[in-house]
Subunit: 451 residues, 2 copies
């Protein structure tokens, strides 16, 4: 497998070979479609500045994807696959130019059955959700970007989100049923992976196959209620979140806990969150509604906002203040703030959370997202960091790790340096097979650099 793609391409000849496929060559548009949301990280902002593709190609069918793949293989052109470009680690930013393969026109949904959907990679999560709801189902988990993000991009670049409190993360067995990928070879093939084999491509950042179609399990579409509860004390808020997470009889989709002053960055919600209070943002099934006041009372919380299931779609959407939307809203007020991604150790008493909360004070503002990990509810966190220097940022991350907190570093564009630490050998093997010329998203895998 070659790791340094050939760079001298006659783009006119190249584009001519793509006859029938939509192509964008306008430099401003190409530059825009070479971006993603790595800008949340001051480190990545610097490292990826000026990285752009040469052209954007927008296939609409499997046949067109095969055509593009063949042409890219022939001319040894790097390929950066792109969904909606909402990824946070520069996964979509081409390090070596080439083709930006925009999958967002592939929007067919072949079928939705009881509990399973088959859909093309470019389908927006919100579109699937709307369609599935007609028959009583919805997506199991979604990033807070679900209005724009594509399912292909979520599987290839995301990890979990709203819904992970019940179903765990995308990597968990059962949350992805099948994948159809196109290879980049002289004669590109279509390969369908099913069952455990999906792990060969799951969360692989578009390095080993162009995902064109997927099968994912669905969740029942409960009538959901959105709720804000405020607390005078942060640890009480956190313990409330853990207790609700542990309450097996209560069906939930989101348990987010913010330390003050994070909620003060949410302009649209200020009326519901008094200054200096800490807040829990919840999405729970309507059937829990009568039971929630008892739990809130146990933790001295105050319910300040409630949007009923019938009003979903109206007014603010609470989910769009959670997960990395928290960082988005905060940065829109104070762009010097950046964030961490972490997973606290299994410990229902939340000692490590408490320690970090006090240890860093205002420099690292606590933002917990409770999720299920290996059968147990624990807090993930996307802490907001008042950024000073790269050294200090690294120091903060090392301190967390030294105290048993797992850090998925969001300030790197190298797969292994982020959440995963080591490239799955199966994924590398699969890459060798489907991308023999090493054209897919080159420069993102450490294991291939040291070869």
């Amino acid at each position: 497998m070659t790791t340094t793609p050939i760079k001298s391409v006659d783009w006119e000849v190249f584009v001519a070979a793509l006859v029938g496929v939509e192509v964008i060559v306008d430099a401003a548009q190409v530059a825009k479609l070479s971006q993603d949301y790595h800008t949340f990280s001051p480190i990545l902002q610097r490292q990826l500045a000026g990285k752009v593709g040469d052209i954007v190609v927008r296939p609409a069918t499997e046949a067109e994807v095969l055509q593009v793949a063949a042409v890219c293989a022939k001319y040894r052109v790097p390929v950066t696959v792109r969904g909606a470009g909402t990824g946070n680690y520069g996964q979509c930013v081409p390090l070596h130019g080439g083709v930006i393969l925009d999958m967002s026109r592939m929007q067919r949904i072949p079928w939705i059955e009881a509990g399973i959907a088959r859909l093309e990679a470019g389908v927006k999560l919100a579109t699937l959700d709307k369609k599935a709801r007609v028959s009583g189902w919805e997506i199991r988990m979604a990033p807070s970007t679900y209005r724009t993000a594509t399912i292909g991009g979520f599987i290839a670049g995301g990890s979990g989100g709203i819904g992970s409190i019940t179903y765990g993360q995308l990597r968990d067995r059962g949350n992805l049923l099948a994948l159809k990928v196109v290879t980049i070879e002289d004669e590109p093939r279509v390969i369908e992976l099913r069952g455990d084999d999906v792990q060969k491509v799951n969360h692989a950042w578009g390095v080993n196959g162009i995902i064109i179609e997927l099968e994912i399990p669905l969740a029942p579409a409960y009538p959901w209620v959105e709720i804000i509860v405020t607390f005078d004390d942060f640890m009480t808020a956190a313990r409330f979140g853990q207790a609700l997470g542990n309450a097996d009889g209560m069906v939930k989709k989101l348990i987010t806990v913010f330390a003050s002053p994070i909620p003060s960055y949410f302009t649209a919600l200020r009326q519901y969150i008094p200054d200096k209070t800490h807040a829990a943002f919840l999405i729970v099934a309507e059937s829990c509604l009568e039971l929630l006041p008892g739990l809130i009372q146990e933790y001295n919380g105050k319910l300040t906002y409630q949007k009923s299931a019938q009003d979903v779609g109206k007014g603010v959407n609470l989910g769009e203040f959670t997960w990395n939307h928290t960082t988005l809203h905060t940065r829109s007020v104070d762009p010097s703030i950046t964030y961490l991604q972490s997973l606290f150790p299994t410990d229902k008493s939340l000692q490590t959370v408490e320690h970090m909360f006090h240890h860093f004070g205002d420099e690292v503002m606590m933002h917990l997202e409770f999720i299920r990990v290996n059968g147990t509810v624990i807090p993930a966190a996307l802490q907001l960091v008042r950024y000073t220097t790269e050294e200090r940022l690294n120091e903060i991350m090392r301190y967390h790790e030294a105290n048993g907190v797992f850090i998925a570093n969001p300030h790197t564009y190298i797969i292994e340096d982020g959440g995963r630490k080591q490239m799955d050998p199966e994924q590398l093997k699969f890459k060798q097979m489907v991308d023999p010329y090493g054209l897919m998203n080159p420069g993102k895998i450490r294991a291939l650099m040291t070869q």
Copy 2:
């Protein structure tokens, strides 16, 4: 509150006062309706032998229940409420004669909405399930007796069952939404308890109010598949069960693990479970089906039986070999066998299970039911015991407790000596209010004996 009810009743006068309500006086029938399944316990069998009611009353409406309650209060007659009489602790057996109040004619289902049902106490669980499925819902959890058991009896006398792997137990906040009870007073009242107040009556064995109507949350009716997996090694089977329980992306309704020779007692299933092998009985959503082989392989299991969702209702029903049906089937072959009810400590490595398995060998045959407790999947167990003496049975239970296993002793008809250890003061307070003459299921509460 009186605790010793008045015993001399002129039954002719009494029955006359019940004009319009169905009454059974035939001694054979009354004796039959004074029984439950306490016979699984040699201890209870002896203690409760010969205990029968005087008459059976079968109201069909709220008005009739109020009428019965008033008459019982007037004549100070003990009342033993009864659903289907499938309880295991003699909860339905009258210690002081009196009226057996059979609720099984109260079968209305006022409404089923998205995720919630309201129903009368005498509705059979299977009936509710069938009706809810029409709109895509089903009961969250059910005892293996769901074909005959009533919802009133399940709430008043049960704990959980098939479905508890996902939703925990009946006592967990959120699994019961509202209760309507009739008091036994000179002028009986109807009281509706909602939200956390339901705990005043939840699992109270019919000592503090006649439940006439309930509101319970429903679960989505996935297409379910029934599966048997066999293993050469018991602990590998147990670890497989734990791993499947921890797999957040796999939707399940049942994970039961049997040590050999338990499966050999299931005559109808012998062809699927080779001699000397251990078995896992599973009910999982169809959408997990492709992922299961990978997990089974990791644990060297062998899938020997699979019934697809379309075939549910045909052939054997796997659920009816689990929970206390395991004991039923085993006792039908060897009536000298009895059982335990226990909850292993939270420990995903299952060390205590392993210790007990080896410690007791064939005397205590391991039967695990994985359930969620406070947000974590742990094995409950209904171990089968080769009974010798009461002393040895107690010794076995004490040994478990000494090793951190929680025992809900099924060999006692005293509430506090079973699973609950102490009577909830709120339940006692509520009893004082709704049963001022102490007529309801007298003799089952230790706290009232020592008064």
